[in-house]
């Protein structure tokens, strides 16, 4: 179906493709399980401008991953499909210098070596009542902060992560635990690739269309992946 007011590319349309060579941008793979919110992300005009490579999780292959330079593992993957795909993602993490983001609600403790996540209740109303959600910016000076800002990481979280050796927490939880747990960290040490792990679920909330901070986080992390 064509639209009389559509003059630009439409989702899934075969375009002219990106130029061979000379494109300074990293090619970003978007790994997702076909939930409406992931499909909505792929149709977002701002994200279409990034030429994300659509990696449908039930059909992921190492050949498909070979086409991309960096990888966004969308939040809320189907757990069994994620378990099947974990060796492929770990193979990707063995690429020196590659960048990977792993969205929240993906049970990372069960498949990502060194990742330890504990559940935390989600406060979705603190911004209306002024309650302190105990999130604290951390890791000032970390290069990931060049891409983030406070609004991108201060909306809600679903869990608490132990920060692996050599990793930098970007936001910690002030809950009387030492060292503090994180809701997002950048880990340049555990794998040849760099990985960002978090307990926020930006693709869910951006694709649902109701959490402005989630949109900020998604756009800004894709900026980091596409550098």
């Amino acid at each position: 179906m064509t639209s009389p007011i559509t003059t630009g590319p439409v989702p899934g349309a075969a375009g002219l493709g990106r130029p061979a060579g000379g494109d300074p941008r990293a090619r970003i793979g978007f790994l997702h399980p076909g939930s409406f919110y992931h499909l909505a992300c792929l149709r977002d005009p701002a994200l279409m401008s990034l030429d994300l490579v659509d990696l449908y999780a039930p059909e992921l292959t190492s050949q498909a991953l070979a086409q991309v330079d960096s990888l966004f593992v969308a939040c809320r993957q189907h757990p069994a499909v994620m378990a099947r795909n974990a060796p492929l993602v770990l193979e990707f993490l063995s690429r020196p210098g590659a960048r990977v983001v792993i969205g929240g609600e993906n049970r990372v403790s069960s498949w990502l070596p060194g990742a330890q996540e504990e559940p935390r209740p989600t406060n979705f109303w603190a911004w209306r009542t002024g309650e302190d959600p105990t999130r604290r910016p951390a890791g000032q000076g970390d290069p990931l902060w060049d891409y983030l800002d406070r609004s991108a990481v201060d909306w809600h979280h679903h869990g608490a992560l132990t920060v692996p050796p050599g990793a930098t927490a970007l936001v910690t939880l002030e809950e009387g635990i030492e060292p503090p747990k994180a809701i997002i960290y950048r880990d340049p040490a555990s794998f040849p690739a760099e990985v960002v792990v978090m307990t926020m679920d930006p693709t869910y909330h951006h694709g649902c269309g109701f959490m402005p901070g989630a949109t900020q986080l998604l756009y800004r992390l894709l900026g980091w992946l596409g550098r």
Binding site: G34, S35, F36, Y37, L39
Partner: protein
């Protein structure tokens, strides 16, 4: 009744809600014997590409008399007549205000103010309290277009009262679409939505409400 969700389901949680609902992984749909169920619910996270690739399975079951409840935003047309999601811009509660439109047994008696706002602050809250501290958007924050000609538009959003709850006949069956979080999540004690989940299930079981 069957409910398909986007995760593996342990044997211990297969029978839910006092044995009324058989819960299964969405990817079991192709092997399921749908004929034994009067109603099917799809969770919001359902893989819509998978649903589209098994369109005939669901559609034939509905046409033969099944009642299908689709939760979430329909982005892929995975069954005949399925309306399509459209994004809504909103800046305040008026933009996402919910209005009762055409009647439907599932929504009979539901005051839409009781499902508009929620909070995690403990205690009972008046609607005026919730206007001050509540959060909206859980029930709906977008709308649908492309309704079949005979479809019922049951709840509307915003000043334009654009459809967020829709039902339509398909063959001998019915498709109900709720473009928001899972409908069974809005059962709220002390409000007009108290006991709502039971009513939704009863309707999908084929009971006349």
């Amino acid at each position: 009744m069957a409910e398909f969700v986007m995760r593996p389901v342990e044997p211990s949680e297969r029978l839910d809600r006092h044995g009324r609902v058989v819960r299964a992984d969405l990817y079991e749909l192709e092997a399921a014997d749908l004929a034994q169920f009067s109603g099917v619910m799809l969770g919001i996270s359902a893989d819509q590409r998978y649903l589209a690739s098994h369109r005939a399975t669901l559609e034939n079951w509905v046409r033969s008399g099944g009642k299908l409840l689709v939760n979430g935003h329909p982005v892929v047309p995975f069954i005949a007549g399925l309306p399509q999601w459209r994004k809504l811009h909103f800046h305040g509660v008026d933009d996402i205000w919910l209005t009762a439109l055409e009647s439907h047994p599932v929504w009979e008696g539901i005051d839409r103010r009781d499902i508009l706002l929620r909070t995690g602050v403990p205690g009972n809250h008046t609607f005026d309290d919730l206007l001050r501290i509540g959060v909206g958007g859980f029930y709906a924050r977008s709308y649908m277009v492309g309704l079949p000609p005979e479809a019922r538009s049951i709840t509307g959003i915003g000043p334009g009262k654009l459809p967020v709850d829709v039902s339509y006949r398909l063959g001998a069956g019915e498709v109900i679409v709720h473009a928001g979080n899972d409908l069974l999540g809005f059962d709220t004690p002390g409000t007009s939505a108290a006991g709502w989940s039971d009513r939704v299930l009863s309707y999908l079981e084929g009971e006349a409400l």
